[in-house]
């Protein structure tokens, strides 16, 4: 058997939540360490090894010039590159700044904004380099992460589609909160992967996995508009963790600046 595959986990502009989801795979961590050489994962171990890597998981968006350069290096060093989480796949909550002038934000928050070295925008990994697969979510689902690792080792396609959250909701047997309780659930326009968690707890989906494969956001908004949702609210429901994902961005811009 050839040597173990080399795994690296990187962090760019992010909150560490997705890496914590990986570490939360408590029962499987030793097995992952048995199956891979964990060459770079600073959140887990300070020992780091040089590339190349068979698989790089990247958490975080590109929000500084340094990160923009870094992601190119990571790409060069990695056979497979998989962005994980809403920051890496859509720009994250920090991409809210993309809708405004960055200058006044910096002045409002930092006493010496001239010391900042930040880009005007927060953008996903795929806006900078080609990617091989992506794991959505804010944060990612640890079971999905494990599935990607196992699939890579077996050379097969990871399970799960890019269809709506509704499909998972029905598989699970949850009563639809949009129909039975008139809650604005974003499940019909949101990418599956979480297992339809929020509706199972009696809340509408917040869209944290970003747009599904063919999101009809206009129809969704039209339905809620007829039921009294106003323009600022419609703008804001699409402007959260995946605000900069194309379909959500365009829909939010239809309802306000």
């Amino acid at each position: 058997m050839p040597g173990k595959k080399r795994l690296a986990v990187w962090k760019l502009a992010s909150c560490d939540g997705c890496q914590l989801s990986l570490l939360d795979l408590e029962d499987e961590l030793l097995r992952i360490a048995g199956a891979f050489e964990i060459a770079y994962f600073v959140e887990a171990s300070s020992a780091t090894a040089e590339g190349p890597y068979d698989l790089s998981l990247v958490e975080g968006s590109i929000a500084t010039a340094h990160q923009a350069a870094r992601i190119r290096e990571i790409r060069r060093e990695s056979r497979l590159l998989v962005p994980i989480g809403a920051c890496a796949t859509a720009g994250g909550i920090q991409a809210l700044r993309n809708f405004r002038d960055f200058g006044p934000f910096a002045t409002a928050v930092y006493p010496r904004p001239e010391q900042l070295d930040a880009l005007e925008t927060s953008t996903p990994v795929a806006a900078h380099v080609p990617i091989d697969f992506e794991l959505r979510g804010c944060p990612i689902n640890k079971r999905q992460a494990l599935e990607v690792l196992s699939a890579l080792l077996a050379g097969r396609t990871p399970k799960g589609g890019s269809h709506s959250v509704c499909i998972e909701c029905k598989l699970r047997g949850t009563v639809c909160v949009m129909v039975a309780r008139q809650l604005p659930c974003m499940g019909p326009v949101t990418h599956a992967g979480c297992g339809a968690l929020c509706p199972a707890y009696g809340r509408g989906c917040y869209g944290c996995y970003g747009p599904m494969e063919t999101p009809n956001t206009g129809s969704w908004s039209g339905w809620w508009q007829q039921r009294g949702m106003d323009e600022p609210d419609l703008r804001d429901v699409f402007r959260t963790f995946n605000a900069w994902a194309e379909a959500f961005r365009e829909e939010s811009e239809r309802h306000g600046s």
């Binding site: 077996a154 097969r156 399970k159 499909i167 598989l171 009563v175 949009m178 009696g202 009809n216």
Partner: protein, 383 residues
Amino acid sequence: MDAVSEPARGESFVLEPRALQALLDAIVAEGYQIRGPLVRDHAVCLDEVTRVEQLPVGWTDEQEGGHYRLTRRGGSALFGCGVGQDSWKRLLHRPLALLWSAERDDGGLALSEPHEEPARFAFFGVRPCDLAAINIQDGILAAGRYPDPFYRARRQGLLTVVANCTSAGGTCFCASMGTGPRAESGFDLALTELWPDTANHALLVETGSDAGTRLLAAVPRRPAGDPERREADEATRRAVEQMGRRLDTSDIHGMLMGNLEHPRWAEVARRCLACGNCTLVCPTCFCTNFEDGGDLELRHAERTRRWDSCFTLGFTRLHGGPVRRKIRSRYRQWMTHKLATWFDQFGTSGCVGCGRCITWCPVGIDLTEESAAIRASDGRSGR
């Protein structure tokens, strides 16, 4: 109301509402697991029922396109709610099933198939449209050269106790589809609720099989008379009158298949979310997809089957990508399969008129309305 003589198949009886518990007990005593309607999470769901009080007594529902609301109306009606989101499909044709798994050790590969214990379900309170849907799925999944062993194991020992509809829901159109509101055959027992909220409240019971008839032996009952039969006919007629939707099925195959380029398909595609809810709540849709999984050590592999929908891109993904890229073509696939090409494939309509796809579509898309719109501007030449 006493059991005077042995009941005979084909006879009808009258039960007082409290005698229903004796019926449930008799079903359990025969070794069945009862599944029936109960209120949970703001809807009528299908789950284990052993006591009459678990039924949605005194509840009613309001159903419209994209709208379902349970309300308490009080009173004694046992079957005042129509069908909920779930159909019996969830129990017979499960959403997820392990097909096989394999273990590898140094010696080689060991394959195993899950052993499916035959279930003994008693479905209690099956609506006539849903009985028709089970019949349709039987023809697809349990018959033919390649019957589905999972479906068969759960279907074989099934007992069905129908609850005929004496009021119809806002999205129902079984009368158009010829599946209700009263079941004529294919059940073990069929109940019709008479005069709820009055002192005469009773249930007419029709026997449809030996197994059903035997169950009545221990249940206090009296033979049905003309007043009960007449009221059951009346209640059925009232339900037909009340039906919230209708579908014109005349030449529906020709009408839809002759209008594949009708502009209405593009119009409905502007509203359709391609979320797949309509197909998953439909009691006859049977489509599935397969997924392979395995562990990190490459010692264990497995193949699972899960419900899929013709609304997902994955459903038609071949080399080079999905075939039905546009929502227009996916909606058209769904509706023409349900109402037209199902006849070519299975000899019946794929729709029983239960209305679930209308109620549980998050944006209230209604296939009766879409079909009527196409018919109203039929694009076939000479019309």
